[in-house]
Amino acid sequence: MRPLPLWRHEARRAGWTALLTPPLAVAAPILIAFVDAGANASDHEIAQNLFGALEMGVPLAAGIGAASLVGRDPAAELLLTTPAGYRTILLRRLAVTVGWTALVALLLAVPMIATGWWAKWPANHGALPGQLIWLAPTLGLAALGFLAGAAFRGPAAAGGLVAIFWIFQQMFADRVQEQGWSRQLYLFATTRGAVPADWTANRITLIAVSIVLGALAWLLLGRTERLIQGVTE
Protein backbone atom coordinates (compact mmCIF):
# COMPACT_ATOMS: atom_id res chain seq x y z
CA MET A 1 0.00 0.00 0.00
CA ARG A 2 1.48 3.32 -1.02
CA PRO A 3 1.18 6.45 1.06
CA LEU A 4 -2.07 8.32 1.13
CA PRO A 5 -0.71 11.50 -0.51
CA LEU A 6 0.02 9.50 -3.65
CA TRP A 7 -3.61 8.44 -3.87
CA ARG A 8 -4.59 12.03 -3.32
CA HIS A 9 -2.41 13.05 -6.25
CA GLU A 10 -3.94 10.39 -8.45
CA ALA A 11 -7.43 11.48 -7.50
CA ARG A 12 -6.49 14.99 -8.56
CA ARG A 13 -5.07 13.68 -11.83
CA ALA A 14 -8.41 12.07 -12.56
CA GLY A 15 -9.82 15.58 -12.30
CA TRP A 16 -13.31 16.88 -12.07
CA THR A 17 -14.34 15.04 -15.25
CA ALA A 18 -13.93 11.74 -13.48
CA LEU A 19 -15.57 13.21 -10.41
CA LEU A 20 -18.65 14.43 -12.24
CA THR A 21 -19.20 11.67 -14.77
CA PRO A 22 -20.56 8.87 -12.54
CA PRO A 23 -23.05 11.07 -10.66
CA LEU A 24 -24.30 12.53 -13.93
CA ALA A 25 -24.57 9.08 -15.49
CA VAL A 26 -26.82 7.87 -12.68
CA ALA A 27 -28.64 11.18 -12.36
CA ALA A 28 -30.53 10.80 -15.65
CA PRO A 29 -32.34 7.54 -14.86
CA ILE A 30 -32.98 8.72 -11.30
CA LEU A 31 -34.52 11.89 -12.66
CA ILE A 32 -36.74 9.79 -14.89
CA ALA A 33 -37.70 7.71 -11.86
CA PHE A 34 -38.75 10.89 -10.05
CA VAL A 35 -40.70 12.13 -13.07
CA ASP A 36 -42.35 8.73 -13.24
CA ALA A 37 -43.20 8.88 -9.57
CA GLY A 38 -44.88 12.24 -10.16
CA ALA A 39 -46.82 10.79 -13.09
CA ASN A 40 -48.25 7.94 -11.02
CA ALA A 41 -46.05 5.28 -12.54
CA SER A 42 -46.10 1.91 -10.84
CA ASP A 43 -43.52 1.11 -8.18
CA HIS A 44 -42.23 -1.52 -10.56
CA GLU A 45 -41.46 1.08 -13.25
CA ILE A 46 -39.80 3.43 -10.79
CA ALA A 47 -37.71 0.61 -9.36
CA GLN A 48 -36.69 -0.38 -12.88
CA ASN A 49 -35.30 3.10 -13.48
CA LEU A 50 -33.41 3.08 -10.19
CA PHE A 51 -31.92 -0.31 -10.97
CA GLY A 52 -31.24 0.93 -14.48
CA ALA A 53 -29.13 3.71 -13.00
CA LEU A 54 -27.09 1.08 -11.20
CA GLU A 55 -26.81 -1.48 -13.96
CA MET A 56 -26.58 0.85 -16.98
CA GLY A 57 -25.39 4.27 -15.86
CA VAL A 58 -22.68 3.20 -13.44
CA PRO A 59 -20.91 0.76 -15.82
CA LEU A 60 -21.01 3.23 -18.70
CA ALA A 61 -19.34 5.91 -16.59
CA ALA A 62 -16.69 3.47 -15.39
CA GLY A 63 -16.09 2.12 -18.90
CA ILE A 64 -15.60 5.52 -20.53
CA GLY A 65 -13.55 6.68 -17.55
CA ALA A 66 -11.26 3.66 -17.78
CA ALA A 67 -10.96 4.18 -21.54
CA SER A 68 -9.65 7.70 -20.93
CA LEU A 69 -6.64 6.71 -18.83
CA VAL A 70 -4.05 5.84 -21.47
CA GLY A 71 -2.77 8.52 -23.82
CA ARG A 72 -3.16 12.22 -23.13
CA ASP A 73 -0.67 12.11 -20.26
CA PRO A 74 1.79 14.96 -20.83
CA ALA A 75 4.30 13.50 -18.39
CA ALA A 76 4.08 9.91 -19.67
CA GLU A 77 7.69 9.73 -20.85
CA LEU A 78 8.91 10.86 -17.46
CA LEU A 79 6.61 8.52 -15.55
CA LEU A 80 7.78 5.61 -17.68
CA THR A 81 11.25 5.99 -16.20
CA THR A 82 10.19 6.07 -12.56
CA PRO A 83 10.95 2.95 -10.55
CA ALA A 84 7.26 2.86 -9.63
CA GLY A 85 6.45 1.70 -13.16
CA TYR A 86 3.99 3.42 -15.42
CA ARG A 87 1.49 0.60 -15.57
CA THR A 88 1.34 0.52 -11.79
CA ILE A 89 0.55 4.22 -11.95
CA LEU A 90 -2.16 3.58 -14.54
CA LEU A 91 -3.57 0.76 -12.46
CA ARG A 92 -3.75 3.11 -9.47
CA ARG A 93 -5.60 5.63 -11.63
CA LEU A 94 -7.95 2.88 -12.78
CA ALA A 95 -8.59 2.00 -9.15
CA VAL A 96 -9.41 5.65 -8.42
CA THR A 97 -11.83 5.85 -11.36
CA VAL A 98 -13.58 2.56 -10.65
CA GLY A 99 -13.47 3.12 -6.89
CA TRP A 100 -15.20 6.47 -7.15
CA THR A 101 -17.81 5.04 -9.51
CA ALA A 102 -18.41 2.20 -7.07
CA LEU A 103 -18.84 4.67 -4.24
CA VAL A 104 -21.45 6.54 -6.25
CA ALA A 105 -23.22 3.24 -6.89
CA LEU A 106 -23.23 2.46 -3.18
CA LEU A 107 -24.53 5.93 -2.40
CA LEU A 108 -27.53 5.02 -4.50
CA ALA A 109 -27.87 1.36 -3.49
CA VAL A 110 -27.70 1.85 0.27
CA PRO A 111 -30.59 4.34 0.46
CA MET A 112 -32.54 2.09 -1.89
CA ILE A 113 -32.08 -0.80 0.51
CA ALA A 114 -32.87 1.37 3.54
CA THR A 115 -36.08 2.79 2.04
CA GLY A 116 -37.34 -0.52 0.75
CA TRP A 117 -37.06 0.38 -2.95
CA TRP A 118 -34.50 -2.36 -3.40
CA ALA A 119 -37.12 -4.97 -2.56
CA LYS A 120 -39.59 -3.56 -5.06
CA TRP A 121 -37.73 -5.01 -8.00
CA PRO A 122 -38.40 -8.77 -8.11
CA ALA A 123 -34.93 -9.73 -9.38
CA ASN A 124 -33.00 -7.84 -6.70
CA HIS A 125 -31.00 -10.89 -5.53
CA GLY A 126 -30.83 -9.64 -1.95
CA ALA A 127 -28.93 -6.76 -0.46
CA LEU A 128 -25.41 -8.19 -0.53
CA PRO A 129 -25.20 -10.52 -3.57
CA GLY A 130 -27.46 -7.99 -5.29
CA GLN A 131 -24.53 -5.54 -5.41
CA LEU A 132 -23.29 -7.62 -8.32
CA ILE A 133 -26.06 -5.92 -10.26
CA TRP A 134 -23.75 -2.97 -10.80
CA LEU A 135 -20.38 -4.40 -9.79
CA ALA A 136 -20.14 -7.10 -12.47
CA PRO A 137 -21.00 -4.95 -15.50
CA THR A 138 -18.91 -2.11 -14.06
CA LEU A 139 -15.83 -4.29 -13.83
CA GLY A 140 -16.53 -5.78 -17.25
CA LEU A 141 -16.93 -2.49 -19.06
CA ALA A 142 -14.08 -0.82 -17.16
CA ALA A 143 -11.73 -3.64 -18.11
CA LEU A 144 -12.88 -3.41 -21.73
CA GLY A 145 -12.27 0.34 -21.72
CA PHE A 146 -8.86 -0.02 -20.07
CA LEU A 147 -7.79 -2.69 -22.55
CA ALA A 148 -9.08 -0.66 -25.50
CA GLY A 149 -7.21 2.37 -24.18
CA ALA A 150 -4.03 0.33 -23.89
CA ALA A 151 -4.49 -1.12 -27.36
CA PHE A 152 -5.45 2.10 -29.13
CA ARG A 153 -3.27 4.33 -26.93
CA GLY A 154 -5.91 7.03 -26.86
CA PRO A 155 -9.31 7.67 -25.30
CA ALA A 156 -11.22 8.60 -28.45
CA ALA A 157 -11.35 5.21 -30.13
CA ALA A 158 -11.38 3.36 -26.80
CA GLY A 159 -14.35 5.43 -25.62
CA GLY A 160 -16.02 4.75 -28.96
CA LEU A 161 -15.63 1.01 -28.52
CA VAL A 162 -17.11 1.09 -25.01
CA ALA A 163 -19.95 3.30 -26.24
CA ILE A 164 -20.81 1.02 -29.14
CA PHE A 165 -20.62 -2.09 -26.99
CA TRP A 166 -23.00 -0.57 -24.45
CA ILE A 167 -25.50 0.69 -27.00
CA PHE A 168 -25.26 -2.60 -28.88
CA GLN A 169 -26.38 -4.48 -25.81
CA GLN A 170 -29.21 -2.02 -25.31
CA MET A 171 -30.51 -1.97 -28.86
CA PHE A 172 -30.14 -5.68 -29.48
CA ALA A 173 -31.09 -6.91 -26.04
CA ASP A 174 -33.23 -9.71 -27.45
CA ARG A 175 -30.64 -10.91 -29.91
CA VAL A 176 -27.92 -10.92 -27.28
CA GLN A 177 -30.06 -13.05 -25.00
CA GLU A 178 -30.97 -15.57 -27.68
CA GLN A 179 -27.63 -17.33 -27.60
CA GLY A 180 -25.89 -18.92 -24.64
CA TRP A 181 -22.49 -17.33 -25.07
CA SER A 182 -23.72 -13.80 -25.60
CA ARG A 183 -26.25 -14.21 -22.77
CA GLN A 184 -23.35 -14.81 -20.37
CA LEU A 185 -21.78 -11.55 -21.51
CA TYR A 186 -24.97 -9.51 -21.23
CA LEU A 187 -24.43 -6.43 -19.10
CA PHE A 188 -28.04 -5.70 -18.22
CA ALA A 189 -29.19 -9.14 -17.12
CA THR A 190 -30.98 -7.75 -14.06
CA THR A 191 -33.05 -4.94 -15.48
CA ARG A 192 -33.77 -6.15 -19.00
CA GLY A 193 -35.21 -9.52 -18.20
CA ALA A 194 -32.52 -12.11 -18.69
CA VAL A 195 -33.18 -15.77 -18.06
CA PRO A 196 -33.32 -15.72 -14.22
CA ALA A 197 -31.45 -18.99 -13.77
CA ASP A 198 -28.54 -17.53 -15.68
CA TRP A 199 -28.05 -14.49 -13.50
CA THR A 200 -25.32 -15.79 -11.19
CA ALA A 201 -23.41 -17.42 -14.02
CA ASN A 202 -23.71 -14.22 -16.03
CA ARG A 203 -22.32 -12.10 -13.19
CA ILE A 204 -19.45 -14.49 -12.55
CA THR A 205 -18.67 -14.62 -16.27
CA LEU A 206 -18.56 -10.84 -16.49
CA ILE A 207 -16.15 -10.63 -13.56
CA ALA A 208 -14.00 -13.43 -14.97
CA VAL A 209 -13.89 -11.71 -18.36
CA SER A 210 -12.92 -8.45 -16.68
CA ILE A 211 -9.96 -10.21 -15.07
CA VAL A 212 -8.86 -11.62 -18.43
CA LEU A 213 -9.22 -8.26 -20.19
CA GLY A 214 -7.42 -6.53 -17.34
CA ALA A 215 -4.55 -9.01 -17.56
CA LEU A 216 -4.30 -8.44 -21.30
CA ALA A 217 -4.18 -4.70 -20.72
CA TRP A 218 -1.46 -5.22 -18.12
CA LEU A 219 0.63 -7.17 -20.63
CA LEU A 220 0.11 -4.59 -23.36
CA LEU A 221 1.05 -1.73 -21.07
CA GLY A 222 4.30 -3.50 -20.21
CA ARG A 223 5.51 -2.73 -23.70
CA THR A 224 6.72 0.76 -22.96
CA GLU A 225 7.97 1.20 -26.47
CA ARG A 226 4.42 1.35 -27.78
CA LEU A 227 3.52 3.96 -25.22
CA ILE A 228 6.20 6.49 -26.03
CA GLN A 229 5.89 6.15 -29.74
CA GLY A 230 2.81 8.20 -29.42
CA VAL A 231 -0.89 7.91 -29.37
CA THR A 232 -2.58 6.69 -32.51
CA GLU A 233 -4.56 9.80 -33.17
Binding site: H9, E77, L78, P83, A84
Partner: protein
Protein backbone atom coordinates in the same frame (compact mmCIF):
# COMPACT_ATOMS: atom_id res chain seq x y z
CA UNK B 1 29.55 5.49 -12.68
CA UNK B 2 30.71 4.18 -16.03
CA UNK B 3 28.46 3.37 -18.96
CA UNK B 4 29.69 0.80 -21.46
CA UNK B 5 27.83 0.44 -24.70
CA UNK B 6 28.81 -2.12 -27.28
CA UNK B 7 27.35 -3.13 -30.60
CA UNK B 8 24.19 -1.20 -29.81
CA UNK B 9 21.67 -1.27 -32.62
CA UNK B 10 18.10 -0.04 -32.68
CA UNK B 11 15.79 -0.63 -35.60
CA UNK B 12 12.32 0.92 -35.64
CA UNK B 13 9.77 -1.01 -37.58
CA UNK B 14 9.17 0.75 -40.86
CA UNK B 15 11.54 3.61 -40.05
CA UNK B 16 14.94 2.01 -40.36
CA UNK B 17 18.02 2.09 -38.17
CA UNK B 18 18.21 4.77 -35.49
CA UNK B 19 21.39 3.33 -33.99
CA UNK B 20 23.87 1.23 -35.89
CA UNK B 21 26.43 -0.93 -34.07
CA UNK B 22 27.40 1.74 -31.58
CA UNK B 23 30.35 1.27 -29.21
CA UNK B 24 30.87 3.93 -26.56
CA UNK B 25 32.25 4.29 -23.05
CA UNK B 26 30.98 7.14 -20.89
CA UNK B 27 33.05 7.89 -17.78
CA UNK B 28 31.92 9.50 -14.54
CA UNK B 29 31.42 13.24 -14.80
CA UNK B 30 29.90 15.42 -17.44
CA UNK B 31 29.76 13.92 -20.90
CA UNK B 32 28.43 15.57 -24.06
CA UNK B 33 26.59 13.86 -26.85
CA UNK B 34 26.50 15.91 -30.03
CA UNK B 35 24.73 15.27 -33.25
CA UNK B 36 22.34 16.72 -35.76
CA UNK B 37 18.62 16.23 -35.28
CA UNK B 38 17.81 12.65 -36.15
CA UNK B 39 21.34 11.39 -35.44
CA UNK B 40 20.05 8.89 -32.87
CA UNK B 41 20.75 10.82 -29.66
CA UNK B 42 17.25 10.58 -28.27
CA UNK B 43 17.07 6.88 -29.10
CA UNK B 44 20.31 6.30 -27.22
CA UNK B 45 19.07 8.32 -24.25
CA UNK B 46 15.81 6.40 -24.17
CA UNK B 47 17.60 3.07 -24.26
CA UNK B 48 19.79 4.16 -21.36
CA UNK B 49 16.72 5.30 -19.45
CA UNK B 50 15.10 1.91 -19.97
CA UNK B 51 12.33 3.23 -22.19
CA UNK B 52 13.35 1.39 -25.32
CA UNK B 53 14.81 -2.03 -25.81
CA UNK B 54 17.77 -2.30 -28.15
CA UNK B 55 17.47 -4.53 -31.19
CA UNK B 56 21.01 -5.80 -30.60
CA UNK B 57 24.04 -5.04 -28.46
CA UNK B 58 24.72 -4.58 -24.78
CA UNK B 59 24.53 -1.71 -22.33
CA UNK B 60 26.19 -1.77 -18.92
CA UNK B 61 25.39 1.03 -16.52
CA UNK B 62 27.75 0.65 -13.58
CA UNK B 63 27.26 -2.93 -12.48
CA UNK B 64 23.81 -3.23 -14.09
CA UNK B 65 22.92 -4.88 -17.36
CA UNK B 66 20.76 -2.25 -19.07
CA UNK B 67 19.29 -4.71 -21.54
CA UNK B 68 17.79 -7.07 -18.94
CA UNK B 69 14.59 -6.23 -17.12
CA UNK B 70 16.14 -6.44 -13.65
CA UNK B 71 19.03 -4.26 -14.78
CA UNK B 72 16.72 -1.66 -16.27
CA UNK B 73 14.75 -1.45 -13.05
CA UNK B 74 17.97 -1.12 -11.07
CA UNK B 75 19.13 1.68 -13.37
CA UNK B 76 15.82 3.48 -12.95
CA UNK B 77 16.43 3.49 -9.18
CA UNK B 78 19.54 5.62 -9.65
CA UNK B 79 18.38 7.58 -12.66
CA UNK B 80 17.34 11.17 -13.10
CA UNK B 81 15.85 11.76 -16.52
CA UNK B 82 14.85 14.94 -18.27
CA UNK B 83 13.14 14.08 -21.55
CA UNK B 84 13.34 16.32 -24.57
CA UNK B 85 9.64 17.21 -24.40
CA UNK B 86 8.94 17.32 -20.72
CA UNK B 87 5.22 17.50 -20.30
CA UNK B 88 3.93 18.72 -16.96
CA UNK B 89 0.48 18.83 -15.45
CA UNK B 90 -0.61 22.43 -15.99
CA UNK B 91 -3.06 22.36 -13.08
CA UNK B 92 -0.36 21.58 -10.52
CA UNK B 93 2.03 24.02 -8.91
CA UNK B 94 5.74 23.32 -9.20
CA UNK B 95 5.78 22.20 -5.58
CA UNK B 96 2.88 19.81 -6.08
CA UNK B 97 4.36 18.39 -9.26
CA UNK B 98 7.67 17.71 -7.56
CA UNK B 99 5.87 16.20 -4.59
CA UNK B 100 4.04 13.82 -6.92
CA UNK B 101 7.18 12.74 -8.76
CA UNK B 102 9.01 12.36 -5.43
CA UNK B 103 6.31 9.97 -4.25
CA UNK B 104 6.63 7.97 -7.45
CA UNK B 105 10.37 7.83 -6.89
CA UNK B 106 9.75 6.27 -3.53
CA UNK B 107 10.39 9.19 -1.17
CA UNK B 108 7.52 8.17 1.08
CA UNK B 109 8.40 10.08 4.22
CA UNK B 110 6.48 13.33 4.18
CA UNK B 111 9.02 15.47 5.99
CA UNK B 112 11.89 14.16 3.88
CA UNK B 113 9.93 14.79 0.73
CA UNK B 114 9.07 18.33 1.71
CA UNK B 115 12.65 19.07 2.61
CA UNK B 116 13.99 17.62 -0.64
CA UNK B 117 11.46 19.46 -2.80
CA UNK B 118 12.25 22.69 -0.98
CA UNK B 119 15.99 22.24 -1.48
CA UNK B 120 15.63 21.57 -5.17
CA UNK B 121 13.31 24.50 -5.73
CA UNK B 122 16.09 26.57 -4.18
CA UNK B 123 18.72 24.96 -6.42
CA UNK B 124 16.80 25.79 -9.59
CA UNK B 125 15.85 29.23 -8.24
CA UNK B 126 12.11 28.67 -8.33
CA UNK B 127 11.30 29.08 -4.63
CA UNK B 128 9.48 32.34 -5.30
CA UNK B 129 7.28 30.79 -7.96
CA UNK B 130 6.88 27.38 -6.37
CA UNK B 131 3.22 27.82 -5.54
CA UNK B 132 2.16 29.09 -8.92
CA UNK B 133 0.49 26.73 -11.36
CA UNK B 134 2.75 25.31 -14.06
CA UNK B 135 0.31 26.54 -16.70
CA UNK B 136 1.74 30.03 -16.37
CA UNK B 137 5.41 28.98 -16.45
CA UNK B 138 7.77 30.03 -19.25
CA UNK B 139 9.67 27.39 -21.21
CA UNK B 140 12.79 28.06 -19.19
CA UNK B 141 10.97 27.74 -15.88
CA UNK B 142 9.47 24.44 -16.97
CA UNK B 143 12.94 23.19 -17.89
CA UNK B 144 14.10 24.11 -14.42
CA UNK B 145 11.20 22.20 -12.90
CA UNK B 146 12.34 19.37 -15.15
CA UNK B 147 15.86 19.40 -13.82
CA UNK B 148 14.55 19.62 -10.26
CA UNK B 149 12.43 16.50 -10.72
CA UNK B 150 15.39 14.68 -12.27
CA UNK B 151 17.42 15.38 -9.13
CA UNK B 152 14.75 14.37 -6.62
CA UNK B 153 16.09 10.97 -5.65
CA UNK B 154 19.71 12.16 -5.71
CA UNK B 155 20.49 10.16 -8.84
CA UNK B 156 23.93 8.83 -9.69
CA UNK B 157 23.10 8.96 -13.36
CA UNK B 158 21.57 12.05 -14.88
CA UNK B 159 20.35 11.97 -18.47
CA UNK B 160 19.28 15.27 -20.00
CA UNK B 161 18.01 15.42 -23.55
CA UNK B 162 18.27 18.79 -25.33
CA UNK B 163 17.83 20.68 -22.08
CA UNK B 164 18.60 24.15 -23.37
CA UNK B 165 16.41 24.14 -26.45
CA UNK B 166 14.14 27.15 -26.33
CA UNK B 167 15.83 28.87 -23.40
CA UNK B 168 16.90 32.49 -23.48
CA UNK B 169 20.67 33.17 -23.26
CA UNK B 170 20.64 33.96 -19.56
CA UNK B 171 18.62 30.87 -18.71
CA UNK B 172 20.88 28.75 -20.86
CA UNK B 173 24.00 29.89 -19.08
CA UNK B 174 22.42 29.34 -15.69
CA UNK B 175 21.26 25.92 -16.72
CA UNK B 176 24.66 24.88 -18.03
CA UNK B 177 26.40 26.05 -14.89
CA UNK B 178 23.94 24.11 -12.80
CA UNK B 179 24.57 20.94 -14.76
CA UNK B 180 28.36 21.30 -14.43
CA UNK B 181 28.05 21.78 -10.70
CA UNK B 182 25.92 18.67 -10.45
CA UNK B 183 28.40 16.50 -12.29
CA UNK B 184 30.90 15.88 -9.44
CA UNK B 185 30.50 12.20 -8.53
CA UNK B 186 27.62 11.71 -10.89
CA UNK B 187 27.55 10.77 -14.51
CA UNK B 188 25.74 13.48 -16.43
CA UNK B 189 24.93 12.69 -20.02
CA UNK B 190 24.08 15.86 -21.91
CA UNK B 191 22.58 15.39 -25.33
CA UNK B 192 22.33 18.45 -27.52
CA UNK B 193 22.74 19.82 -30.99
CA UNK B 194 24.00 23.12 -29.60
CA UNK B 195 27.79 22.90 -29.79
CA UNK B 196 28.33 25.78 -27.41
CA UNK B 197 26.57 23.95 -24.57
CA UNK B 198 29.09 21.15 -24.80
CA UNK B 199 32.02 23.52 -25.22
CA UNK B 200 31.15 25.28 -21.99
CA UNK B 201 30.46 22.26 -19.80
CA UNK B 202 32.08 19.03 -20.95
CA UNK B 203 35.64 17.79 -21.13
CA UNK B 204 34.74 14.70 -23.08
CA UNK B 205 32.17 14.14 -25.74
CA UNK B 206 30.95 11.88 -28.52
CA UNK B 207 29.45 12.80 -31.86
CA UNK B 208 26.73 10.74 -33.51
CA UNK B 209 25.72 10.87 -37.15
CA UNK B 210 23.07 8.65 -38.71
CA UNK B 211 23.13 6.34 -35.73
CA UNK B 212 26.88 5.79 -35.81
CA UNK B 213 29.66 7.04 -33.59
CA UNK B 214 31.84 9.38 -35.63
CA UNK B 215 33.93 10.86 -32.85
CA UNK B 216 34.85 10.15 -29.24
CA UNK B 217 37.38 12.28 -27.39
CA UNK B 218 37.97 15.54 -25.57
CA UNK B 219 36.71 18.94 -26.55
CA UNK B 220 40.28 19.78 -27.56
CA UNK B 221 40.46 16.72 -29.81
CA UNK B 222 37.30 17.73 -31.61
CA UNK B 223 38.53 21.30 -32.00
CA UNK B 224 41.76 20.00 -33.53
CA UNK B 225 39.75 18.26 -36.24
CA UNK B 226 39.60 21.69 -37.84
CA UNK B 227 43.31 22.47 -37.57
CA UNK B 228 44.43 24.07 -40.79
CA UNK B 229 40.91 24.06 -42.15
CA UNK B 230 39.53 27.37 -40.86
CA UNK B 231 39.90 30.53 -42.91
CA UNK B 232 38.69 34.07 -42.91
CA UNK B 233 38.26 36.07 -46.04
CA UNK B 234 37.05 39.62 -46.66
CA UNK B 235 35.36 40.28 -49.95
CA UNK B 236 32.85 42.62 -51.55
CA UNK B 237 32.00 39.97 -54.11
CA UNK B 238 29.90 36.83 -53.81
CA UNK B 239 30.21 34.50 -50.82
CA UNK B 240 32.84 31.75 -51.02
CA UNK B 241 31.58 28.57 -52.65
CA UNK B 242 34.15 26.08 -51.37
CA UNK B 243 33.86 24.86 -47.80
CA UNK B 244 31.16 25.73 -45.29
CA UNK B 245 30.53 29.33 -44.33
CA UNK B 246 30.35 29.49 -40.54
CA UNK B 247 29.70 33.19 -40.19
CA UNK B 248 29.26 36.28 -42.32
CA UNK B 249 29.85 39.66 -40.71
CA UNK B 250 29.58 43.08 -42.32
CA UNK B 251 33.02 44.65 -42.81
CA UNK B 252 34.29 48.01 -44.08
CA UNK B 253 35.37 46.36 -47.35
CA UNK B 254 32.33 44.15 -47.82
CA UNK B 255 31.74 41.02 -45.79
CA UNK B 256 34.07 39.00 -43.59
CA UNK B 257 33.43 35.28 -44.00
CA UNK B 258 34.64 32.51 -41.73
CA UNK B 259 34.92 29.30 -43.68
CA UNK B 260 35.72 25.69 -42.78
CA UNK B 261 37.11 23.70 -45.68
CA UNK B 262 40.02 21.66 -47.01
CA UNK B 263 41.49 24.44 -49.06
CA UNK B 264 41.51 28.25 -48.77
CA UNK B 265 38.28 29.65 -50.19
CA UNK B 266 40.18 32.47 -51.92
CA UNK B 267 43.83 33.32 -52.63
CA UNK B 268 43.78 36.11 -50.02
CA UNK B 269 42.10 34.01 -47.30
CA UNK B 270 44.00 33.87 -44.03
CA UNK B 271 44.09 30.87 -41.67
CA UNK B 272 42.28 31.22 -38.34
CA UNK B 273 42.34 29.38 -35.02
CA UNK B 274 39.58 26.77 -34.83
CA UNK B 275 36.95 26.52 -32.13
CA UNK B 276 34.75 23.58 -31.18
CA UNK B 277 32.07 24.46 -33.66
CA UNK B 278 34.64 24.49 -36.46
CA UNK B 279 35.85 21.10 -35.31
CA UNK B 280 32.32 19.75 -35.38
CA UNK B 281 31.77 21.07 -38.88
CA UNK B 282 35.11 19.72 -40.11
CA UNK B 283 34.10 16.34 -38.74
CA UNK B 284 30.79 16.52 -40.54
CA UNK B 285 32.61 17.34 -43.78
CA UNK B 286 34.94 14.37 -43.40
CA UNK B 287 32.14 11.97 -42.56
Amino acid sequence: MRIEISGLTKVYKGKGRALDDLDLVVPTGMFGLLGANGAGKTTLMRILAGLLRPTAGTVRVGEHDGTARAGRLAVQQILGYLPQDLGVYPDLTAREFLDYIALLKGIDDRAARRRRVGELLEVVALTGDADRRLRGYSGGMRRRVGIAQALLADPRLLIVDEPTAGLDPEERIRFRTLLSQLAGQRTVLLSTHIVDDVAQTCRELAVLASGRLVFRGTVGDLTRQADGRVWTVVTAGPAPTTGTVVSALPHDDGMRYRVVGDSPPAFDASPAAPNLEDGYLALAQKA
